[in-house]
Chain length 407, copies 2
């Protein structure tokens, strides 16, 4: 009541960003997560989160460096974590980075937020794969970015469309502030970009005089095939900013991610980040955990998620009516499902909810709300024994819809 009477007073004080934002936060009611068979969010398997290891790492970090772990920290991040990340990046990703190339962030979310703060003024143009990570979709929206949508096909970013769109922008005198892409097990399509496509994408970005933001959140979670080189490692022109995170391995609750990029950009981002250090306590704990515990933990995770992916693919085969297609990801958390035209995944969601399952309607993953007949399934969170039931519920509702339409 009171909130309503005074809201006009408040409204007059709001910024463009606050007026633009949808007042419904992305993550709400998290305490209730898991009441349905949930294929919605890219949440790690709860049972696999390494609580005991984190407990031991915390005890050690606090005993050895408690005064630093509970104090303010460097804006760039705790140097011990930066060094642990440098080792991990060199070993796993083949990325050789100096300290000044790295910025520790509060997950990929703060990373994308900082990049937007540093690169985008209201109304500026960016280019991004669409569909893409819904956190990025919302973040682009909140800062008033003009988003040029680039489709994703079976080899990754559709570079033909990208090149055409960039030429069109150039004819208007516009250089987009960056191109955003997720080369491995793309969120939400599950597609992995081919090596040739990575090289082509980099060439196009360089020729356009812009930056590539390479979001590699799912790198560690490959279930089939060999790793492909990070685009960052193909570049010698400081045109790529590489994003990574501990959210899919150690746990999202740590809120720790990182950027690797040109020192000239990293230093600006570090200065913009007036934050007393990112999550200093968590960073000290992660620095303790990372060197010895990451790889064995990732091995365990791969087994869990590979199994769940296969369960979900089998359930899709078993239950989905003809005319429905889906992607087969080599890693990550997501399968992208396309229904025949006419199916509205947002409209059928309440019925699926009522029957006890949930997914992410496709339009959520597009800046322009397209993809009405598509949806994203995450196979990371629901338990093995729930997967078949959940897929059956979705398939049944879709089948009824299709029958309805045929009549």
């Amino acid at each position: 009541m009171i909130a309503q009477t005074s809201s006009s007073h408040l409204d007059a004080l709001l910024s463009q960003r606050a007026r633009q934002v949808s007042p419904r936060p992305l993550l709400q009611g998290m305490d209730d997560a898991g009441k349905r068979i949930s294929f919605v969010f890219g949440f790690p398997d709860p049972a696999s989160l390494p609580a005991d290891e984190v407990s031991i790492a915390t005890e050690k970090a606090l005993a050895e460096r408690g005064r630093a772990a509970l104090q303010y920290g460097d804006n760039a991040g705790y140097s011990g974590l930066i060094d642990a990340l440098r080792e991990k990046l060199a070993r796993d990703q083949g990325i050789v980075a100096e300290r000044e190339n790295i910025l520790v962030t509060a997950g990929g979310s703060q990373a994308i937020g900082l990049l937007l703060d540093a690169l985008v003024d209201w109304g500026d143009t960016i280019a991004s794969e669409m569909p893409t990570w819904l956190g990025a979709v919302q973040a682009f929206h909140n800062v008033g970015a003009n988003v040029v949508s680039i489709p994703v096909n079976e080899e990754g970013t559709d570079v033909v469309t990208l090149e055409r769109e960039l030429a069109h922008l150039r004819s208007q005198g516009i250089t987009p502030k960056f191109v955003y892409a997720i080369p491995n097990f793309q969120n939400p399509t599950g597609v992995t970009m081919s090596l040739q496509r990575r090289q082509d994408l980099l060439d196009i970005v360089r020729a356009a005089g812009t930056l590539l933001i390479e979001d590699d959140a799912y790198f560690d979670l490959r279930y089939d095939g060999e790793n492909l080189p990070a685009i960052y490692t193909l570049d010698d022109s400081q045109s790529v900013v590489y994003m990574g995170t501990l959210s899919k391995t150690m746990g999202p609750g740590m809120r720790l991610g990182w950027l690797v990029g040109p020192p000239a950009l990293i230093s600006r981002l570090t200065a913009l980040k007036v934050d007393g250090g990112t999550n200093v306590f968590g960073a000290h704990v992660a620095a303790e955990w990372l060197p010895e515990k990451l790889l064995p933990h990732v091995d365990r995770l791969r087994a869990v998620y590979r199994r769940r992916r296969d369960l979900m693919l089998a359930a899709l085969e078993r239950h989905m009516p003809p005319g429905v297609t889906w992607t087969v990801p080599d890693g990550g958390f997501f399968i992208w499902v396309t229904f025949p035209e006419g199916i509205d995944t947002a409209a059928m969601h309440p019925q699926v909810n009522e029957l006890g399952a949930e997914y992410l309607p496709g339009p959520t993953c597009f800046a322009d709300g397209s993809g009405p007949n598509q949806l994203r399934l995450s196979f990371s969170f629901a338990q093995d024994e729930e997967i078949d039931d959940g897929i059956r519920i979705i398939a049944d509702v879709a089948r009824a819809e299709l029958r309805e339409q045929a009549r």
Copy 2:
């Protein structure tokens, strides 16, 4: 080298914010903190940080709620911490808040950053006490705010100047987006705002149709006298946003603070904060620690900081040449020193550094760089036995400067 060759390419892509920011981050080389006798930062006493208690709280939180503590969290913050904060606020501050009034933030830094994102477009006007918290000074600068500086006198915000400045703005059709004030043990002056002044400030803010941001970072650390009511509790018009933090009690490394305000604003801030939950792991640990451990810990801290304040005041009496004045704070971390005109605290700092001490030059605390003959001393971080030496070093350098000038 490479960074330089490509920096023009990068420069063309930067936002207004990134072009505005000083490329030197606020907190750099934190791992080296404490090499000199340091009166620079508002850092808690390292020996008082409750590492053992945090270790125990972590073990408990992870054992009982590890799956939630390591998972994504609500954008508004972990509900268990919000409830613990509601109890603390009601008990200590007399602030009665519902869950929807509260947003958990990564310290006061994220709180002020979010408020700026939600209220200030580039070039918008705000009003703030000056001198003030240097984190706020930098944050205001980074978003291109036009800052109207309001002095602080012995009763707090100079409301006569504020009223005159607001009238002047009104004559230009400008409503400032907010007024920023620190009523308790102000950073950097140490001044506590009188009750009458709090009421006057609120009346002026309301009449102007703007918001008051009441930053109460040091509330828990009062060494003399009785608590005065938070301005938030004097208001029934949803015109006040109240900021608090665990940085000065549990420890800055936790990176946890909070905002209390009108739900209509809190919900916007929550939605703008696309961050997967603020520091979820730390929030679960803090929720475990806060209910039983805060008050006894604060008692211990008060004893330490009261003693250090008194040591510093005695050292100032003992060493400072005539004509130097300083404030006597009832709480918090800071003493504000004013030298005779002609003394340049920034210019004399390198010499003080060389002799083994450091402080914060006054101009750092002003949006317009004024206060050349002033400096901030923090008595929280240096050890008891260092304080006299450190003050003597500063006094000696200042005395030599004054002599030089007299010649």
